[in-house]
Symmetry: D2
C-alpha cells in the first residue's frame, strides 16, 4: 500500500511511462499451481484496447509477455513479471506543449512533486499505466474463478444519460454479454446508443464527457475485510479512487443513504436456503467493513477526459506567464467504457488479497 | 495500512471495544519536539462527545490519558500511547438481543469473520472506536498547525435537507465557528434548525436519518500523494470510507463530474501572486493523485444510524430462525454531527503522513 | 516492519519509556477464539523479572493488564492492548548524568536522531521496553502450543565460559527445566555455577560481562518463510537483532560454515518415518529461507551491559567538552539470562506470523 | 518488507528464475533528478560476473536494460524497471536430477512451501536472483555518492584462511582497489593467493568452501535507523541474511562481545574536530539501533556452495526412496567473492531507505 504497490498478501507493483519503452507489473504472492498463460492475460488486456470511433486512434498491439513466475503453464508462487511494449508512440504533439500545464492533467502536480517529469503523453500519470493493472487483475480474476467469485462492470451513466439496469436480476455472464455488446459498455442497448451519440457530439465539438461506472462482484464469501482500517469498503474505495479520472466512489445505496431513514436503509436479515441473507442490499454487500455474502455493488464517478481540443487557459511554467492551450494528441472523448476492465481489475485484486488475508486461498492451487 | 493500523510514516493503531475496559491508540512516527499535552487531545475528544437532545444519552467523561511518548511537555519521537476508559457502560440491553443480528450492524459479519464476537454495544465495530481516531487526529492537527494547514468539517446535508454554504468564501476559522455554533454542525443557521427538527422527528418515530458531511483542508502544500496507488485522493477515500457508517466518498465536483463536459470540469490554470493556481476547483485540490495547492474538498455519505427502536426483521443465529428485533440501547438518531471531528481526524492523519512522505516535516519540530 | 511495529499478519506494536507511566503493546491480527488470561501473559513476564544477586535491584511488580481484545476469556480477533505500569522508578541517578552520554548506550544516537530525549533510565532505548515484547510473545507462544511448536532458550556462553549442551538430545521441556533451574539459565549446572561466579566477579569490580544465548524451536512445520526478502532466517535475524544489546545472529552452524566444506556442511537428506528429514542440522532448520522441519537453531551474541560503575571517558553534550562518567542506577551485570525470555518471544512472534502467512493458522481457533 | 519486496520508502521488488526468460527488479521511491544510465547499473552487474577459474563456467552477458523511470538521462521519481535476459542456460543437467532434492539447496523447502517448483538451476532460489539486487543496489550507491556515503566489501576469510586487514586504516577507495585486484576479493595479496589455492583444491576434489565477507560503510550520517524494530542493525541483518548462503551476521565486535567486559566493549566517547565521536568501534557504528557516525562494520558467514560433485545422500521425492546424488551443472566452488557486490548492494539499499526515513534525501536530487 505504498507508491506503486498495492496489496498485503497479493501484491501488485506497476511501472512504466506512456511513451517509455514499456508498461508492466510484478505480481507477488500469487498462489502456486494456477494455470496461467499469456493468453489469459491478453484476453483482459484486449478488452481495454480502444475499439471504435469513440476511442483514441493510438493503436497499441499490447502483446503481453510473461517474464517470470510461470513454469510449465502454471504459476510458481514466485513473482510474475509481465509487460507490454509501447510501440505506437508519437511524442510530437506533446513536445510543442511541454511548457504548458494541461488543465485537468497531472502536469503541474508531477512537476511540483518530483521537480522533473516525462511530458510525453502524460508520462506515468497517463491512463496507459492502467494496462498493468488489467494484467494483474487478469491473474486475480483467474484465482477468483476457482472460488466462483465473479466480477462484472458496466456503464451506468454517461453525459447525464443514465440507465436503470437492475444488475441483481441478471447473471454475471448475462450482464457481461450485454455490456460487451456495445462500445460504451452499457447493458441497456437503447441507452447505449444515446450515450454513444452524446460522446460523438462532444468529440465533434472538441470536448469530452464524464460518467458513472458500476462494478458488481457476486459470490463473494462473507467475512472479507480487515477492520478497522483495512475494511473491505475502505480498501475498495482506495483501489478504485487510485484509477485515473475517478472522483467519487460509493458502495450500495451510496450517497442515497443521505436521504434515507434507518428503517429504510437497514437491510432486513432473513434465512434463505438455510443461510443468513439480506432481503435488500443497500449495504452493497458490506457491513462493518466486512463482506456479508450479498453482491458487492460499487459505483465510481469518472470525470470527462481532460484532453480536449477546445482552447483552455493555462500557464507556461518555463516563462511563468499565462497562456492558452489546445491539446492535440490522441484521446478518448469519454473514459468510462475503457475504464471498466481497469475497475474490474482493481476489485479483483482487492478481493483476492482479502480472501488470502482471511485464509481462504491456499498457497498451492494445484 | 493493515487491520487496525493506518499510515506509512505517521502510523496510528487503534484498539478497544465499546463495553471493554478502555479505548485507545498508539501513534508511532510522530516527530519529536512537538508540544503536546492531554488538554490538546481532550479538546478534540470533547468535540466528539454527545451534547444535546439529538445525541445518545450515554455520557462518557472520556478523560484522555497519555501513557508514553511525551516528556517534559514535548513529544519524544517515540510511540505515543493514549486511552480513555469506558465508564458509563450498560450492557443489559445488548444481553437480551445477543442472539439476534441487528440489521445495518456488523453483528453478522463479525460473527462470520471471527467466529466469536463481543455483543456488548457493538464491540469493536461500535462508533466508540472512533474516539481513538480523534485522539490520534488531534496530534496530526497540532503538527499541521505548524505548517498552516487547517482542516474543518461541517454538515452539508441531513435527512434530505441540504445547505448551499460556499466554504471557499470563508476563512477556516469562520467555518469552524459557524458549524460549531449549533448541534448539527451546519454552518447555515436556518438550515441547521430544520435539520435538527428532522432528526428529532425521526427520533420520535423510533427511526434515524442519514446525511452528508463535507471536509475542507486549506493551506495544503502542492506535491502530496504517492501515485499510482497511494494517491492523495485514494488515501483519503481509504481513510474516510473506514469510518463507520460512511457509504460514499467524493472529491471536488465528485459525482457531478458524470454530467460535466471536459471544458467545464477542467480547472483553468492561472497565475496568482506569482504562483500557479486554479481558477475553479472541480478537482477538489487533487490532480493525478497529488495535491495542487487548492482547497482539498471531500464529501462523505453517512447512513442513518442502524440502531432504531422500530421493529425489524432479523435472524436468531443460535436457533437459526427468523425473528423480529427492537434495538434499545442508547443511540444518536443521526451520526453526521458527531462524525465530523472523526472525519477531520482522518484527513489530518492522511495529510501528515503524506507531508512526511514528501519530506516536508522534519523529525525534530523543536 | 516499521518503527515500533513488527509483523505482517500478526503485528506487534510496543510503546513506553523506562521511567514513563507504563510500558505496553498492542497485538493486532491474533486469531479469535484463543483462550487468554492475564495470567498467561504474567507467567512469561515473570520469567523476565530480575531474580537474584546477579540482577538489578529495581523491583517492578509488572502486573499485566489486558485492556481490549479479550472477551469471556477468549480473544476476539481484535487488537489486544496490554500494559504494565512503571512503579519502582528512581530517576535521581540519571538526573546527575543527563548531560553526559553514557558509553555503550543510545544516549548520543537518540539525541542526534530525535533532537530531544528522555534521559531517565534510558527512556525508550531501555531494556525495559522488552517487557512489551515478552507480553506479545506470550500470546504467540499460546498460539504455537496449539500447533505443537515449542520454543526454548538457554545460555550458551557467558564471560568466555561456554557449555557443550546438545539441545537435540533433549526434550524442549527438559531443556526448559534445566535452564530455569539456575539464575544464569544455563542447562549445564556446573557451567552455570562458573558463569554465575564470573558475573559476580565482574560486578564486584564495577564491570559487566557478555555472552551467547541459544534459542531452539522444535516442531516447526516445513514451508515457513517468504523468499526472497522475508525469508525465515532473515526475519528471525531482524527480530533478534532488534533486541537491545544483540550484536550478532547466526543460524545452525552459523559462523562455523566459514571453515566447512560443502560435503561437510550440506545436511544429507533421508527418509525417517516416511518423511523427508535431514541427517544433520547445519542448516539450523532453514534452507533457502524456508523452514525444513528440523529444529530451528539460532544463537545471538549479547554484549556486556553498558552500564558499569567504572569511570569511562565521555562527552558532556551541553557544554561540548570531554568528561568522565560513572554510571550508577540499578543494572544487571550480565544481560544474557534475562534476555532469554525476550529472545524466545521474538522467535515466537516471527513463527506465528510466518505460519499465518503460510495459511496454517485459521482466523478462529475455537 | 514482504515476499519479494524490501524497503519502506526506497522499495526494491525482484523477480525471475535462474533458467526463466529474464531476471529483474522494480525500484520504487527513487528520488527524481538523479542522473542514471544503463552503464551505471552495468558497472556493478559486471562486478558480480564470474571471472576466473574459481567461478562457474556459465557465462551470461547480463546486459542491463532499463524499461522505465528514467527520462533524458535522469530518474523521474517513478518506478525504475530493469532486467537482464537469461541467455547461457543449460537445463539438461537439472533434468536428470529433478526428482532428487539437492542437499544444501532449497529444492525440498520450495517443493513443500509452494507444492510446485522450477527445478531448472535452482529456479527462484538460485544465486542468479541476486543480479537484480545488484541492479537495485547500483542505484542506491549512486544516491549515496551524492551524500559522500561509501560502501566497500571484501573477503575476510575463506576455507579457514583469514586475513588481518584493518579496514579502518584505509580509504574506502584503497580497500576497493586492493580487494578488486584479485579474484577472491581479499585485500591482503598473500592471503588472497592462499585462499585461491584452497578454493581450487576443494574444486579439484569435487567439493566447495565457505568463508566470511566484511562490509564497511563510511560517511554514514548519525541518526539512521527506526527503533525499536526497524533498527539499523536489525534492518541490515534482515537484508544480509536474505542473501542466499548467508548463515550469520554480526555488527562491530559481533560474537567477540561474548568474551568482553563492559569496560572493554563500550566505545569511549570523545570530541574530534568538534564533533562527538568514538575512540574505538566495537559498536560497528550502531548504538541503540541508530547509526553513530562511525564506520558501519558488518561481517557475514557464507556457507560453502551446496552444489558439489561428490556423491551425497538424498531422497527421490517422486518415488519416495533414499538415493544418491551427484550435482553437475556449473557452479562456483566458493560463493564469497561473487557475494560481495550483492552484500554491498543490500547495505546500500538499507542505508538509502534509512536516510529517506530520516528525511535526509530530498524527493528531487537535481
Amino acid at each position: 500500500m505504498m507508491g506503486n504497490t498495492i496489496g498485503v498478501l497479493f501484491r501488485v507493483t506497476t511501472w512504466g511511462e506512456s511513451h517509455g519503452k514499456a508498461v508492466g507489473c510484478v505480481v507477488d504472492g500469487c498462489p502456486a499451481g494456477l494455470e496461467l498463460s499469456e493468453e489469459d492475460i491478453q484476453k483482459e488486456v484486449d478488452r481495454r484496447k480502444p475499439k471504435s470511433s469513440i476511442s483514441t486512434s493510438r493503436r497499441e498491439r499490447d502483446e503481453v509477455i510473461i517474464l517470470s513466475g510461470v513454469f510449465e503453464g502454471k504459476t510458481l508462487g514466485t513473482p510474475i513479471s509481465m509487460l507490454v511494449y509501447n510501440k505506437d508512440v508519437n511524442s510530437k504533439p506533446y513536445e510543442e506543449i511541454r511548457h504548458l500545464f494541461r488543465p485537468g492533467h497531472a502536469d503541474y502536480t508531477y512537476q511540483v512533486k518530483f521537480g522533473f517529469r516525462d511530458w510525453r503523453g502524460g508520462g506515468r500519470a497517463s491512463g496507459r499505466e492502467t494496462v498493468a493493472r488489467v494484467m494483474a487483475g487478469a491473474i486475480a480474476k483467474k484465482i477468483l474463478e476457482r472460488f466462483d467469485v465473479k466480477i462484472v462492470g458496466f456503464t451506468r451513466e454517461i453525459a447525464g444519460i443514465s440507465c436503470d439496469f437492475k444488475a441483481e436480476d441478471y447473471d454475471i455472464k448475462e450482464i457481461y454479454e450485454l455490456a460487451e455488446s456495445n462500445p460504451v459498455r452499457c447493458p441497456d442497448e437503447d441507452v447505449a446508443r444515446r450515450m454513444e451519440d452524446a460522446i460523438l457530439k462532444a468529440k465533434s465539438e472538441g470536448d469530452s464527457v464524464g460518467g458513472v461506472a458500476e462494478i458488481v462482484a457476486r459470490g463473494v464469501p462473507p467475512g472479507l475485510g480487515e477492520p478497522v482500517f483495512l475494511k473491505l469498503d475502505a480498501y475498495l474505495a482506495f483501489a478504485l479512487m487510485s484509477v485515473p479520472a475517478v472522483k467519487g466512489v460509493e458502495i450500495g445505496a451510496g450517497f442515497k443513504v443521505a436521504k434515507m431513514r434507518g428503517s429504510e436503509c437497514n437491510d432486513p436479515i432473513v434465512l434463505r436456503d438455510g443461510k443468513v441473507r439480506f432481503a435488500t442490499n443497500n449495504a452493497g454487500g458490506i457491513l462493518g467493513g466486512i463482506s456479508n455474502g450479498e453482491d458487492i455493488v460499487i459505483r465510481v464517478a469518472i470525470k470527462p477526459t481532460p484532453s480536449i481540443s477546445k482552447p483552455q487557459r493555462t500557464v507556461n511554467w518555463v516563462e511563468m506567464v499565462e497562456d492558452e492551450i489546445v491539446v492535440k494528441g490522441r484521446h478518448d472523448p469519454c473514459i468510462v467504457p475503457r475504464a471498466i476492465p481497469v475497475l474490474e481489475a482493481m476489485v479483483a485484486i482487492v478481493l483476492v488479497d482479502c480472501m488470502m488475508m482471511q485464509g481462504m486461498i491456499p498457497r498451492f492451487l494445484g
